[in-house]
């Protein structure tokens, strides 16, 4: 089946079970939110899928097995991710950041020459993530929200089919959140999107399906309404005074 399929995934650090047997299926075109209290294993799950954390079990994306592959090989299969703290290249311009993200398949001759024009996919991404106006600005000078958009733009030009976004709207203003939500909607037309998020309001507005994790396991899964109605979820998560 196409999309992301995770079977019995386990990640153990020095005897501590960070992810203990997770099964997860995210079909193509879904916008899946993964929520859960701190330490539930959400980021570790993404680390395992992208090759950063060693894991056992099985992870396939569009029928390619991911576990055991190196990070950059997994990226070449169309799996892209962002990080909680944005990790754009601060001393390069927005354009340079995007151009690099678009280029892993370039040959030595292209690499040794200067970039003579803006590649069309980079131009499209600039418009999609609304950064055309700050194209030649150093990425380090961008406000937080725009850095996160730049990260998403980098995934776009990288030709990622699966977007794994780790808290993309943390620290954003309301307007920025709304804009990011719209962006996720646009992305989902051609991509599969998985979002780790704490912001319940954001989740209710933009999630198509939700997976709740707790203590390294999947606690509940379904639509926003189904998950909210699940007594197990209410007990560990929504039961706490989250403005419901």
């Amino acid at each position: 089946m196409s999309g992301l399929v995770v079977r019995d995934l386990q990640v153990v650090f020095d005897g501590f079970v960070a992810v203990g047997g997770v099964d997860l299926t995210v079909p193509s075109g879904d916008v899946r939110f993964i929520i859960g209290p701190n330490g539930a294993g959400k980021t570790t799950l993404i680390d395992a899928i992208t090759g950063l954390a060693r894991a056992t079990g099985a992870v396939t994306f569009d029928e390619h097995e991911l576990l055991g592959r190196k990070v950059h090989k997994i990226a070449r299969l169309g799996v892209g991710r962002t990080f909680q703290n944005s990790t754009v290249f601060e001393e390069l311009t927005v354009l340079q950041n995007l151009d690099i993200a678009a280029g892993w398949h370039r040959g030595p001759l292209t690499l040794l020459r200067r970039r003579s024009s803006v590649p069309p996919e980079v131009q499209n991404a600039l418009e999609t993530v609304r950064l055309t106006a700050v194209r030649d600005q150093l990425a380090g000078t961008l406000p937080h929200g725009q850095k996160q958009w730049l990260e998403i733009g980098m995934l776009l030009v990288q030709n990622a089919k699966l977007f794994l976004l780790d808290e993309p709207v943390a620290g954003m203003s309301h307007e920025e959140r709304d804009a990011t939500g719209e962006l996720l909607g646009e992305l989902s037309r051609e991509h599969t999107v998985v979002v780790i998020e704490h912001d319940m309001d954001f989740l209710r507005r933009f999630a198509r399906s939700v997976t709740v994790m707790h203590a390294g396991k999947v606690l509940s899964e379904g639509t926003v309404a189904q998950v909210q109605a699940d007594p197990k979820v209410q007990e560990v998560y929504l039961g706490h005074p989250v403005e419901a």
């Binding site: 950059h72 290249f89 390069l92 040794l112 020459r113």
Partner: protein, 367 residues
């Protein structure tokens, strides 16, 4: 100011690229005038010979600027590659001095050898020796780099490893006195491909070759820095992990910069031999390797011209100070390393950039 008559902002973006290239051409032209016209006229034979030596150090510095300034690899062991290039050249010149079938002088002295060791033999061939001065360091850097970068050795560990390799090579050379000249190194080199190095005219010729090599190396570094590879290298420096998630293997990117820097150091070593007339373990060990880096730090590691100018300035200061106050140089050298690292991480080049930026903001205000 001319900026007042310049066309307004809209044209600036498209015009900005052409002047940058133009500036670079002017820079290269100026450097060529200084190196090929001014210096030979202004300096006597002795000082010109010293300048040739400094320019060799500047060639090493350009490579370090690429690997360290742009690639983030603190190459504290460039003496290894400088030494490989230098010894490859010196071995050939010693064999040429000795004449066909003869052993170099030092082997006859304390080698107790009947025949040339097998690994000396290919260096009798000038084409092989010349190619080896650059290709041998690059090959060694390639093999080392494969091991080091694939295993993700970086930061201080990389620096310490480089330094250790440097010490190892120097110790090895000292231990093999019969075939390498030991502590003395390969000395008293008389000729350079048929030209007598005692003749001042030929020594001037060596200076011009070194100056041309420096310009060529700067040209290579300039193209690498402005290319897409140069942008990628900075990305690897600032976010190695992030680059991995974009589908690149950063080990390969670093490897290219490391190998190019090694080739430059090898070339510098090869030119150092005819320029100075000697190569010895003391010139390629830990201390000279650190001195290479000091020049780069002072000049500004991430800029194109900074490392070269810094290397020349530090080498010149070393000569000048050791002539007057022999014991003070070591302290001064320590200071030279600490000051830029603490107060001016971008080196003198960043000072120039800072002044330019101030000037441009003040013209903006006035216009």
């Amino acid at each position: 100011m001319t900026t007042l008559q310049d066309p307004p902002v809209a044209v600036e973006a498209s015009a900005a690229k052409a002047p940058r290239r133009f500036h670079a051409l002017i820079g290269f032209g100026l450097a060529a005038v200084v190196l090929f016209a001014l210096a030979p006229v202004a300096l006597g034979d002795f000082r010109l010979g010293l300048l040739a030596k400094y320019l060799c150090l500047a060639i090493v510095a350009v490579g370090i600027g690429l690997a360290w300034g742009r690639g983030g690899m603190l190459t504290l062991g460039q003496g290894v590659f400088f030494g490989l290039g230098g010894y490859a050249m010196a071995m050939h010149l010693k064999l040429a001095d000795a004449g066909p079938g003869e052993l170099p002088d030092f082997m006859q002295l304390y080698g107790q050898l009947d025949a040339l060791p097998w690994w000396w033999k290919p260096f009798a061939n000038p084409a092989f020796a010349l190619a080896a001065t650059v290709l041998l360091p690059m090959l060694v850097a390639f093999l080392l780099g494969l091991l080091i970068f694939r295993r993700r050795v970086r930061g201080a560990y990389f620096a310490i490893l480089s330094q250790a390799l440097c010490a190892a090579l120097a110790i090895f050379l000292i231990g093999q006195q019969g075939t390498t000249g030991g502590t003395n190194g390969l000395t008293d080199i008389q000729g350079f491909f048929g030209y007598d190095l005692n003749d001042p005219i030929n020594r001037r010729m060596i200076y011009f070759i070194v100056a041309a090599a420096l310009l060529a190396v700067l040209g290579v570094a300039w193209q690498l820095m402005r290319s897409r590879f140069g942008e990628l290298l900075v990305a690897v420096r600032d976010g190695e992990e992030r680059v991995r998630f974009l589908g690149y293997d950063p080990a390969n990117v670093k490897l290219v910069a490391y190998v190019v820097a090694a080739g430059m150091a090898g070339l510098a070593g090869a030119l150092f031999v005819p320029a100075v007339g000697i190569i010895s373990p003391a010139m390629i060990g830990v201390v000279p390797s650190i001195e290479f880096v000091i020049g780069v730090a002072v000049g500004g590691r991430a800029s194109l011209i900074g490392p070269a100018l810094g290397a020349i300035a530090v080498a010149w200061a070393k000569t000048a100070l050791s002539e007057k106050l022999p014991s003070a140089w070591t302290y001064f050298e320590g200071l030279l390393f600490i000051l830029p690292v603490v107060f001016l991480p971008g080196g003198l080049a960043s000072l120039a950039m800072y002044l330019r930026r101030r000037r441009s903001t003040s013209t903006e205000v006035t216009s």
